[in-house]
Amino acid sequence: MTRQEPPPLHRKAQRMAWRKARQRLVPYMFVLPQLSLFSVFMFFPLGYALFISFHDWDMVGQPTFIGVANFVRLANDQVFWFALRNTLVYVAGTVPLSIGAGLLLANALNRPMRGRSIFRSVFFLPVVVSAVVTALAATWIFNDNYGLLNRLLIFIGFAPVNWLSSPGWSMVSLILTTIWLRLGFCMTIYLAALQTIPSALYEAARIDGANKLQLFFTVTIPMLRPTTLFLTIICVIYSFHVFDLIFVMTGGGPGYSTVVLVQYIYNMAFQTSEMGYACAIGMALFALILFFTIVRWATSRRSEVSA
């Protein structure tokens, strides 16, 4: 009976401290499932890819460390430069055109008119169409001999074009198909943004005597700038990522005329089994995307500060 009960206050404090510690851990429990998936399937592979990029590895044996040899090879690899050029051409072709067309379309469909919701649905439809299905459908539009487009051209008296079998035109076909896929996405984002422009701004400009075209350039476009920035970043990233469409539609051909970086990585990894080199190309591509995103983001920040 000599044992003394601890004073109740002390025990209460202990319990409080324990509760507090648990409380602090709770948020991590919410994030933990995604964090573990991201760690295993994203962060670890990224680090491992960097590691492999400094090795020579054909998948079967052990990786041998070769320093920066893969990157030196990259700099002298003509196909890599082809793929880089094609990627940039594709980005430069798809991003402004799909954003610009989306902007015009959103403005056309923002006014009250008959059949507006049907038009919106039709342009938005490709959001559920896979790139593979699009590529197959587009093959029958652009096919040199049997494609609908050349049949139309011949029908109205023009010469047919080698849409898929000539180097320059095959890139054009890919860009046009991409715009078909992405137009509705851009349109929908612009349509939502147009609703947020206060009508008072238009009223004021109209009182100042601005016509429709001036309204578009002095009110609509400046007010949509944050949306345009967002779309540019997203579209540039999407365009750098393009794989399915090109893989199925042209397979990178004719020659190397439509090979893009992501496909070159795939070919190196799973067709010629040069894992180290594939990862080196991957690192170069990742650096490129990072660079574009940061530059675009930084320049927009500066212009916002100065504005």
Binding site: Q23, V26, P27, F30, V31, Q34, L37, F38, V40, F41, M42, F43, P45, L46, Y48, A49, I52, S121, V122, F123, F124, L125, P126, V127, V128, V129, A131, V132, V133, T134, L136, A137, I141, Y146, L148, R151, T188, I189, Y190, L191, A192, T227, I237, H241, F243, D244, F247, V248, L261, V262, I265, Y266, A269, F270, A278, C279, G282, L285, F286, L290
Partner: protein, 275 residues
């Protein structure tokens, strides 16, 4: 504003009609070709409207390939994967929006920046991770890696920021656990968000190609998009059957679009507005 339409309105309407035709023709042509007799596929004299219909393409397709298995795999992957992605994104998005913890913002930016990473950059290491876990040629090999998806977390966080803190505080004062608050107070408010996340996850996984292409080497275990590419890769492709398979791959998504168009619009409009 009523009265006779102006020339400008007429021109715009005309442009929209032409644009709509361009949007619909490729899909229309796909359907027409899939329901044609094989002999008419390369026949330039065949009319561009549906003429003689035939199920030949579908018959040879099902006779030569395990298409039912492909459909089943695609459906299973889309269903399981979207269920996991949506639940885990809701949990993480809630923490990023409403809970305070050390490293929160850094972790969020880290998650978000993975949107920039093309799958091909991590394809090689990820291939080895899967082979360590013996997940190659299995549906889980597609499901698990694709659940590490940042868009869902981003959208959830954006949505949950609009939920008033007072509601959550009230729950805490009532003595509810954090999980209890999440399930009983937050989730019921998120019904519109859950719909949006679900339809996008289903479409993305159903339409996935690049990653399943790496995971599946066994023809008997393909998913639909990989099967399409496989058929097209034949030295002498049977376009009648390819188009039939494309119709099979596309139709469920078209039906989803028909019924859930609002959700798709909300999802895309929502990401664009707030950054």
């Amino acid at each position: 504003m009523r009265g006779k339409p102006s020339w400008g309105t007429l021109l715009i309407t005309l442009g929209l009609v032409v644009g709509s035709v361009i949007m619909l023709v490729p899909l229309y042509w796909m359907f027409v070709m899939s329901f044609r007799p094989k002999t008419e596929i390369f026949n330039l004299a065949a009319p561009i409207w549906p003429s003689r219909t035939s199920l030949e393409g579908f018959r040879t397709l099902f006779e030569s390939y395990p298409v039912l298995r492909w459909i089943e795999n695609t459906a299973v992957v889309a269903a399981i994967s979207s269920a996991i992605t949506v639940s885990l994104s809701l949990l993480a998005g809630y923490a990023f929006a409403k809970l305070r913890f050390w490293g929160r913002d850094v972790l969020f930016v880290l998650f978000l920046s993975t949107i920039m990473v093309p799958i091909q950059v991590i394809m090689v290491p990820e291939f080895f991770v899967l082979s360590w876990f013996h997940l190659l040629n299995s549906n889980w090999g597609v499901i698990l890696p694709r659940c590490a998806e940042a868009f869902g977390i981003f959208m959830t966080r954006q949505f949950m920021l609009t939920i008033p803190d007072e509601l959550i505080e009230a729950g805490r004062l009532d003595g509810a656990s954090e999980l209890g608050i999440f399930i009983r107070i937050v989730l019921p408010l998120c019904k519109p968000l859950i719909g949006v996340l679900l339809v996008f996850a289903v479409v993305w996984r159903w339409n996935d190609f690049a990653w399943p292409l790496v995971v599946f080497t066994d023809q008997a275990k393909f998913m639909l998009q990989v099967g399409l590419n496989y058929l097209k890769g034949d030295p002498n492709p049977d376009w009648n059957s390819i188009m039939a398979l494309a119709v099979i791959a596309l139709t469920p998504m078209l039906i989803l679009f028909l019924f859930c168009q609002r959700l798709f619009v909300q999802g895309i409009a929502g990401t664009g507005l707030k950054q």
